[in-house]
């Protein structure tokens, strides 16, 4: 067991992943307080509030963050919020545009009237400061090259101070922390974050200190949000596979430790020949 061929582990993981995807067994999903906080904040926003969604990731994090983005957009559109979208990740521009178009089509929302996708622009922190001063100078046109000045979705919006709630879905930097440092701390809008699982533990100090008011972590967080809006998607479908994978990993860790201690005990006995 100690010198098990790693390809056997790959095979076990492949089986644990594919079988629940083919035949889901529907394990219950418990909603955490940090995900519920995001849901409740959006739920309590009055119709027409300005909701800013920054999709700060690229296709390599799509499985974790696309379900979060889709669930949040569905919720925002259902609440008739005015949605502004953008990305700080150049290689994520196409994916972000695709997510906005897909959900808008599904919810019968119109670009320019119900939402606007600004696309990508260079600058990260400097860009946020520029948007905080004048959104129309930072983004004269949206991703499809239409001038954003005069769009009904941006009526009364001059800069980031006019944003009611901002969520950054991030796979690294620039992302949630950058939005907090250069955005919320200066322009005083409320914000939350959604992140990959790898980043989530590092964001809990920001959650605890109230710098962000909620956190959606990884595929699990996306599944919790899908459960809250009552529209199950790819994240909920992946939860059984996730649990099965974790079960296999825990079992392998326990078994390897068991064999390790048994072997160590035998090595200590007189007459043992390795």
């Amino acid at each position: 067991m100690i010198s098990i061929d790693r390809r056997i582990i790959f095979l076990l993981i492949a089986l644990a992943t594919s079988l629940p995807l083919l035949h889901p067994f529907g394990l219950p999903i418990k909603v955490s307080p940090e995900v519920r906080a995001v849901y409740e904040y959006i739920e309590n926003l009055p119709e027409g509030s300005v909701f800013f969604l920054s999709l700060d990731f690229d296709p390599s994090s799509k499985p974790e963050l696309e379900p979060q983005a889709m669930a949040l957009l569905r919720h925002a559109f259902r609440k008739n919020l005015r949605v502004i979208g953008m990305t700080h990740w150049l290689t994520g521009t196409g994916l972000a545009d695709d997510i906005f178009s897909k959900v808008a089509k599904e919810m019968a929302k119109e670009s320019g009237k119900d939402y606007v996708f600004l696309g990508w622009s260079p600058g990260t922190g400097s860009l946020v400061i520029s948007m905080g001063q004048d959104l129309y100078k930072a983004f004269p046109s949206d991703h499809s090259k239409k001038p954003i000045e005069g769009m009904p979705v941006l009526a009364g919006v001059r800069n980031l101070r006019d944003v009611t709630y901002l969520i950054s879905l991030a796979a690294g930097n620039p992302g949630i922390e950058m939005w907090y440092v250069f955005g919320k701390d200066k322009y005083r809008f409320e914000m939350a974050g959604g992140s990959t699982g790898v980043m989530a533990p590092g964001l809990y100090p920001f959650l605890r200190s109230g710098q962000i008011n909620g956190l959606i972590g990884g595929l699990q967080g996306a599944a919790e949000y899908e459960t809250l809006i009552g529209q199950k998607g790819t994240a909920v479908a992946g939860m059984d596979a996730q649990s099965a994978d974790h079960f296999v990993i825990i079992a392998l860790v326990l078994l390897c430790n068991l064999f390790y201690f048994v072997l160590r005990g035998e090595k200590g006995r007189p007459g043992f020949n390795a």
Binding site: S18, L21, E64, G94, K186, V198, G218, L219, G238
Partner: protein, 252 residues
């Protein structure tokens, strides 16, 4: 086109996605030409895509269109940017320092106050939360693991911060009470690393689930059994490559 038929672009996209996923997964067997092909395509396409987006979004949208409107402000950052290229001409390479000085000076000036405020002051403020709070004339002290602002969590946080900081304080010998404090710091660190590793495993598994979900989706008849066809082709290519490699004495 009948409504149930998948658009050709999606069909091609599905086949490409399945092929490249299987090429990358083939590394689990061993390094091979299919994996290298997928890897090189990933790097090349990422760079190509970035160059095109930067050209249109930065040069055309932010510079060229503004100049044609009679706004010459963008020429200032363009000139500063061009100075960086003087690194390639040794005689005037010193000019690039002006650009770097601007970038470092502006970057530091903008970032330092904000970073100090967000990462240090706000976090210290949270670390020294009061144990007892007074609101409306009554004193309250909550003991609940579920409430982040409760007294018990504040105590744990404070002990964790102090012991971990002490562990990294090397001017005093870690003996006696100092040893116990440093050991406690190590335990806090280990719990932190364990939580981070657990989340990392969860994250990696999520990515695997995403790829498997796509492979299952593209294995349907709608997509022409892309996964099954390309899986067979990938395995056949790997077997043929392995046999040829063995015949030639292991040289790739």
């Amino acid at each position: 086109m009948p409504e149930h038929l998948i658009p050709t672009s999606n069909l091609i996209g599905g086949w490409v996605a399945v092929g490249l996923t299987l090429f990358i997964f083939s590394f689990l067997y061993k390094d091979n030409p299919l994996f290298k092909l997928g890897e090189h395509l990933y790097v090349g396409i990422s760079v190509g895509y970035s160059v095109v987006v930067v050209w249109f979004e930065v040069f055309i949208r932010l510079v060229w269109q503004e100049l044609t409107k009679g706004n010459y402000e963008p020429l200032i950052p363009v000139m500063i940017g061009l100075l960086i290229w003087t690194r390639f001409i040794p005689k005037i390479a010193w000019l690039s320092r002006l650009a770097f000085a601007f970038v470092v000076g502006f970057g530091s000036g903008v970032a330092i106050p904000r970073v100090v405020s967000s990462y240090i002051l706000k976090q210290i403020e949270d670390t020294v939360n009061p144990l007892v709070t007074m609101a409306g004339g009554s004193v309250s002290f909550s003991l609940s693991f579920a409430n982040p602002q409760s007294g018990i969590n504040t105590i744990i946080l404070l002990i964790g911060v102090v012991t971990v900081l002490f562990y990294f304080f090397f001017s005093v010998e870690h003996a006696g009470f100092g040893y116990a404090t440093a050991r406690a710091g190590i335990y806090f660190l280990m719990i932190g690393f364990g939580a981070a590793f657990g989340y990392t495993v969860m994250s990696r598994m999520s990515l695997l689930i995403g790829r498997f979900a796509d492979l299952i989706k593209f294995s349907s008849s709608d997509y022409g059994y892309a996964t099954l066809v390309l899986l067979a082709a990938t395995i056949a290519t790997l077997v043929s490559w392995e046999l040829r490699r063995r015949r030639s004495g292991g040289a790739e």
